[in-house]
Symmetry: C2
Subunit: 88 residues, 2 copies
């Protein structure tokens, strides 16, 4: 039981770090008002893939996978909105 | 048993799509020879987080999680090398 707890902690930390990785990209884009080098396909494909991960997490009843992917999709949508805004 | 098979397929497809999402970013960077807007911290933090995901996958004995994260780290390292090269 304790071991399962630590495995969940490891997964949660991993999930939080991967999700957090998009924060500096958003901050950089927001500061420079320029996201020209970031590929639209990167963001869109990540959102599609992570939507499927959410389905996988729901079936496996793995809250870490579900939460991580919802958060990362949210950050990618923010990045996408910024890129559309700055490319006008 | 069949259900477990389809869940693995779903996870594998999700993993493949997320991993593949970095391919258009690499192609774009390689073509334009410019990755200035892509944050170093994005790539480095993804690699750190995904290394922990590999640990999670090993403990959970989930080959989908292990394979997906190894592939995504590999692509991020390629992206990182390109960015260092083009920023010189």
């Amino acid at each position: 039981m304790i071991e399962e707890f630590w495995v969940s902690i490891l997964g949660s930390v991993a999930a939080a770090i991967v999700t957090a990785s998009f924060v500096p990209q958003i901050i950089r884009g927001y500061r420079t008002k320029h996201l020209g080098d970031v590929s639209y396909l990167l963001m869109i494909t990540i959102c599609i893939g992570m939507s499927l991960w959410i389905g996988y997490g729901i079936i496996k009843q793995d809250l870490v996978i579900i939460g991580a992917n919802i958060s990362t999709i949210a950050l990618n949508v923010i990045l996408l909105v910024l890129k559309v805004k700055y490319s006008k």
